[in-house]
């Protein structure tokens, strides 16, 4: 891997609030804080995993980065191919257009994300056409190349998506994302809809492509075993905030936030000799429209003290490259796995 410590993307204090409107005049009565003051960076050539339970804001974060939706506030500094650092949050539509080829997305559902009425050539070739490759011959050649790259036969060019299995469709989606030579690829649950035997094939393909094309991945997932396998660093989100961010192995072996530890303990390990699920997490995830006071996790946390109810913990670096938002980080000894 050609990983250097040059930051490709730096997100600072990103917020995305969805207003709750009520009544005839659609008065705003509150906000769903889907993403609430999130900061992290992604180095070039690395994979950052974003994990958390449903509704924690991981998908909203990734969509804001791609500017599929505008963020409420915050900065998203992206280093372009030319080496300039631009703030994606401040660009308008036409300014974003040339940057879009550098950021692409791989979707979760390989059935819903391919237009059933377009052939493979049209699906994978469309980003090329949009970006000025108008010569059909040239495009055909490039699409065939891309199909070969993701392990599909170039003869499939004129076929429709229905003729392919879930794993093959995910390969088509990857080919489409890679057609414009992106640098940052946001993969939102790329393997969770696939069968176990196919999941491994897609993970291998994505690892292989990353090495060959020096891709940077933002990998959004909820399967912690897959995340551990695939990511260099992992950020754990809970109700719109990042609670912990660290190198993968360190995070799994020695989590510093009680929520991370509870997540780790909930992973069912595929070995009947190792019994998991020792830490019981009581209660439910709070609503991001009406989060608890202080630390959002305190009502469910077995280590909570009075301070946790009042003050929101600061997201701080307790060891080099290990960030935690917990008042008691460092003093707790929490169980990890692996």
């Amino acid at each position: 891997m050609t990983q250097n410590n040059q930051r490709l993307l730096e997100v600072k204090n990103l917020k995305k609030y969805f207003p709750i409107q009520k009544g005839f005049f659609r008065k705003t009565v509150g906000n769903v804080r889907a993403v609430d003051d999130v900061s992290f960076f992604v180095n070039e050539g690395e994979t950052l995993g974003l994990v958390g339970e449903s509704g924690c804001g991981k998908t909203t974060t990734s969509r804001c980065i791609l500017r599929a939706m505008p963020p409420s506030s915050g900065e998203m500094l992206f280093r372009t191919k030319e080496g300039n650092v631009v703030d994606l949050a401040k660009l308008n539509r036409s300014e974003l257009h040339p940057l879009r080829v550098q950021m692409q997305m791989i979707f979760q559902d390989p059935y819903g994300s391919l237009n059933p009425r377009m052939t493979l050539f049209d699906i994978v070739g469309e980003p090329l056409l949009v970006n000025g490759m108008t010569n059909r011959k040239e495009r055909e050649q490039r699409v065939a190349e891309l199909l070969k790259l993701v392990g599909l036969r170039p003869e499939y060019l004129q076929r429709f998506p229905h003729a392919f299995s879930g794993g093959q469709r995910q390969r088509i989606g990857i080919a489409r994302a890679l057609s414009v030579n992106p640098r940052l690829v946001v993969a939102d649950e790329p393997v969770s809809a696939l069968d176990v035997s196919v999941q491994a094939q897609i993970l291998n393909l994505m690892l292989d492509l990353q090495k060959r094309m020096n891709l940077t991945y933002l990998f959004v997932a909820h399967n912690l075993s897959v995340v551990r396998h695939f990511c260099d660093r992992v950020a754990v989100m809970y109700v719109g905030k990042i609670v912990e961010l660290s190198d993968t192995l360190e995070l799994y072996a020695a989590p510093q936030h009680p929520y991370t530890a509870a997540l780790m303990s909930a992973v069912p390990v595929a070995d009947p000799r190792i019994k998991t699920g020792n830490v019981e997490l009581k209660g439910e995830v709070p609503s991001p429209a009406n989060p608890p006071s202080g630390c959002y996790f305190h009502p469910r946390c077995e280590y909570a003290v009075d301070k946790c109810k009042q003050d929101a913990p600061v997201f701080r670096e307790i060891k080099p490259n290990h960030f935690v938002a917990c008042h008691r980080a460092g003093e707790l000894k929490l169980p990890g796995i692996g």
Partner: protein, 343 residues
């Protein structure tokens, strides 16, 4: 198999779907026994027939599907608690009184989608009471009491209030618990859980699994646990059956399946999942190819085109039968025996 009489004994079950395009042999000769008080796991990837097997046991296979062969023997309980003779569910009328009495009361189902399984226009309480009143001779007030106790048992906070709420007012985890409460409300002796945790988060999954385990131990019910998640199976099941394209590949105690798997498919499947103890970011061993479409199932052993150890002229011509291979372990593979499925 154990000397004890099994609660459910499925023999050579065949369920086919007669479509315009041809016949899909979704379940093509499946045999297994479930003992009382046991968690029996069925694992397999999409299209392996695990859900159809479950539907056949409940006699819920819709046309164009039909049970075309085999038997499903269920041991019934008398009023006084003693067991009497087993009856063959295949021979019953799917919509008859007998089957309707069994379904819900003796065999209950925990479906996969908690959102789609509750009616959005009736309260949770009404729906649970309906099931109770259908199978037990109690009035509405008594049924409500039972329903309340059930919600308490599955650990739903403020159950009095939840009884009068609608399914869409509950979170995913609570909804899944409410479904479990409903399934358990008639004290079934066999619980079929069809991917009960695929739609929920890991922490909720851990809660639900712990709950199922506890309830099963308390009530000594048997659970057929259907999932594609090998981690969940390893944590939950006592005994495991691995299916592929409508056939049983291997069956045995959970320890044996995970640590001494014999069938190449089970071995490959276990190798291909990332675990929390392995070296990250190295290529995973994969199973080449993909699951064939049910219309063009390969001849012979269904796994042979993807199998590393397939024997040319044998695996592609004849279908291996499920045979004992070691203590309480059965495998259908020509590497271990030479018995084929009789036509």
């Amino acid at each position: 198999m154990d000397k004890q009489q099994p609660l459910l004994s499925v023999k050579n079950l065949k369920t086919h779907f007669f479509m315009d395009e041809g016949v899909v042999k979704a379940v093509d000769g499946v045999t297994f026994d479930v003992q009382a008080g046991q968690v029996f796991g069925i694992v397999g990837e999409s299209g392996c027939g695990k859900s159809v097997t479950m539907k056949a046991v409940l006699r819920l296979v819709d046309p164009p599907g039909r049970i075309v062969g085999g038997e499903i023997m269920l041991r019934r309980t008398n009023e006084d608690g003693s067991t009497n003779e087993a009856i063959d569910l295949v021979k019953l009328d799917a919509n008859g009184k007998m089957m309707r009495d069994i379904r819900g009361a003796e065999i209950a189902l925990i479906p996969q989608e908690p959102m789609a399984s509750f009616s959005p226009v009736h309260t949770i309480g009404d729906q649970i009471c309906e099931a109770i009143m259908l199978h037990q001779s109690v009035d509405k007030r008594a049924a409500r009491k039972i329903a309340l106790q059930m919600l308490k048992d599955v650990g739903i906070p403020i159950p009095e209030q939840r009884l009068d709420e609608y399914s869409w007012q509950l979170s995913g985890g609570l909804r899944q618990r409410a479904i479990i409460a409903m399934a358990l409300s008639c004290n079934p002796r066999l619980l079929i859980a069809d991917e009960p945790t695929t739609a929920v988060d890991v922490t909720t999954q851990a809660q639900v699994l712990r709950l199922l385990r506890r309830l099963q131990e308390q009530r000594n019910a048997a659970i057929i646990f259907i999932t594609h998640d090998l981690g969940v199976i390893a944590q939950m099941a006592d005994s495991v059956m691995v299916m592929y394209l409508g056939l049983v590949m291997e069956q045995g105690p959970v320890e044996t399946i995970f640590h001494n798997a014999k069938h190449p498919y089970t071995q490959a499947l276990l190798r291909s999942i990332p675990t929390v103890t392995m070296t990250p970011r190295v290529n995973l061993p994969t199973i080449s190819g993909s699951i064939p479409h049910p219309f063009n199932k390969p001849k012979g052993c269904p796994f042979h085109p993807r199998c590393e150890k397939s024997i040319a002229g044998k695996c592609d011509a004849r279908t291996p039968a499920l045979q004992a291979a070691g203590e309480r372990q059965w495998v259908s593979c020509f590497l271990y025996h030479d018995v084929e499925v009789s036509a």
